[in-house]
Amino acid sequence: MAVLPVPTTPEAEVPLRSLSASVSPVSIIARVVRAELREVTRRSDGGRRPVLTGLLSDGSATVRFTWWDPPKAGVDVGMVLRASPAEVREFRGRVELNFSFRTRVEEASEVELPKLRPEEIPLTRLDALTDGSEGLWVEARVAATGSKSVTVGSERRVVFEGRLADSSGSVGFTAWVDFGLKAGEAIRVTGGYVRSFRGRPQLTLDERSSIERIDGVGLPSAESVREPTRRTVSDLELASGADHTRVEGTVVGLLPPSGLVERCPNCRRTLTGGSCRLHGHVPPVADLRARMVLDDGTGALTVNCGRADTERLWGVSLSTCLERASDRSYAPELEEELARAILGRRLRVDGRAVKDDFGVTVFPDSITTVSPDIRSSAAGLRRRVRRGAA
């Protein structure tokens, strides 16, 4: 007679990456990333029951969890918990953990968290990183580094930041710890997670990420990653944007609002009818901007040009505009004049390209007028036209 397996508390903890509804219940050990204590009112008798929901991460994945009747004090973010047996459920295609009255939950030590072994994680190309990717293995060249001081709560902390590049693309990173990274080095990163920052994926290296120097065979050279990568508009559309990219094209249009605009003093949003979408009626701050449509024949994108670039391309300063625009009704004429000044211009734009529902937008680091040598371009083209004719 066959012996049916009795559901017992599993001994070894399962990495969160390997969770699935078919292996439930499980033992897990993970860190609390986010936690919120609420009360749920029972419909039947109006009784209230506390529930704690949040996110758990063990470096291999992050999952939502629900904990019925948690300790009154709740739990602190950052605490490491061991839970067993925890029920695994699938909700809208995502795995979730459920702690019930049968689940033993206790605080565990950081050292008990599963060690991430590179051989368990697939190597990810930088262009495949998306918001929420974590427990990563990437190999890349450090393209740029820097640091800045930020205020977190009441303390000042230094954030190390920079950019990594491989042959597929590049991605910005921030680190809370100094890994001593230098531009030009080739590194292997294990751990870390990706969050979307201003529309682009950004890699965060936390305390548990590890960095190893590697020889960098197969990675782009230190010189080549310093320069932005030239891409066509069509490439940028396919790649859903890119960091540190270069695109060249002709200005074929100007989108509103462009020219002389009024901004909110608090959030810098453009005001419509003198009021801010978030802050209501505010004293306006005058600014110049140009939302140019840049076209290279493979597609078109928007270049979001700030005041300095607008002034330079237009040759008219904000103060001149303000002198001429004594009232708001003059703004459309200025916009028309700006359009005349920039339409048909050939520009090279370096910056960060972001794709959304309206297409690709570039936030430029630099804009230069392209002026190729007419003689040599014509000669090159002549050879190309003749070659096929021969």
Partner: protein
């Protein structure tokens, strides 16, 4: 996907040879003019010298401008009406022949005899200096020769696969355009467009002056022969013609510009029991006999 249509860099000889289109089926779809080389044009950017525009229509509040833009390979018709106020203002401001870059929508008018006339509904007309003009021509030559090369490869006995072209970095829109053109213009020889490009390069390099007169590097693209002239009218035709003329008079009296819209006329005639083929046939005959004229495509008036 709502990406903005790219502006195709095109020269007059390729534009004028474009006689096929993909019509929008839904409200949110775009129409495309297809060139023999696979430019799949909704929007175009062209450079050339523009002659002062001619204004058409009697109503001064709804002026419609028409102008001719010439590049070293030929000429293109530009139009701008009240729906393109910026372009209309810019066109009307041109008082003497001058160089300009024009951004606009490609438009195809198909005549009842099967002939096709491509024109550009201007969105922006930007007067430029010689340097910008040359740069724009070079851009057009480069993208045109790219289309020629792509067309030749795809028309060869052993054409490359789409994956192959994609891995070479050929944009999806360009691959699609050339494939569609191969279906629509099976007998075109892409190499026929090469001599025109050499003429452009001559102008850019200063070997030839910027032309005053419209030259022609016209590439013949075979189309169906025009139909035989209509047979002489019979009595019932006369009755229908009279009714149609009355309708056209009514429409032109009621319209802003003094013209009767062709589509509107066909629609109204259908309400009166005339099939659209029959209406077109009658209009053809009235035009041939000099009673009606069609000075703007799709716009009719008494001669």
């Amino acid at each position: 996907m709502s990406a903005r249509e790219p502006a195709w860099r095109v020269l007059a000889h390729e534009f004028a040879a474009s006689s096929e289109e993909i019509r929008a089926r839904g409200e949110k779809e775009a129409s495309y003019l297809i060139s023999p080389l696979g430019a799949r044009m909704n929007r175009v950017i062209v450079a050339g010298s523009i002659e002062p525009a001619e204004s058409i229509g009697r109503d001064p509040s709804a002026t419609f401008y028409r102008a001719k833009l010439s590049d070293p390979t030929g000429a293109m018709a530009l139009t701008a009406g009240s729906y393109q106020p910026r372009a209309a203002a810019q066109l009307s401001a041109i008082t003497e022949r001058s160089l300009a870059i024009v951004i606009g929508k490609a438009h195809l008018y198909r005549g009842r005899d099967g002939s096709a006339v491509a024109s550009i509904r201007a969105e922006a007309v930007q007067p430029v200096g010689e340097h910008s003009y040359q740069l724009q021509l070079l851009d057009a030559v480069e993208q045109t020769v790219t289309r020629i090369e792509l067309s030749e490869r795809l028309r060869a006995p052993d054409p490359p696969t789409d994956e192959r072209l994609s891995s070479e970095g050929v944009p999806e829109l360009w691959r699609r355009g050339v494939r569609v053109a191969r279906e629509m213009y099976p007998s075109v020889d892409p190499a026929a467009f090469r001599p025109g490009l050499l003429t452009v390069l001559d102008v850019v390099e200063g070997v030839r002056p910027v032309p005053d007169e419209t030259p022609s590097s016209k590439v013949a693209v075979r189309r169906d022969a025009p139909k035989a002239p209509p047979p002489p009218p019979v009595r019932e035709d006369r009755v229908a013609e009279a009714a149609l003329l009355e309708l056209i008079d009514e429409l032109s009296d009621g319209s802003m510009d003094g013209y009767a819209d062709l589509k509107e006329a066909v629609g109204r005639a259908r309400e009166q029991g005339l099939s659209s083929e029959r209406t077109e046939e009658l209009i053809d005959r009235l035009e041939a006999s000099g009673v009606l004229e069609e000075p703007i495509v799709g716009k009719l008036r008494r001669a």
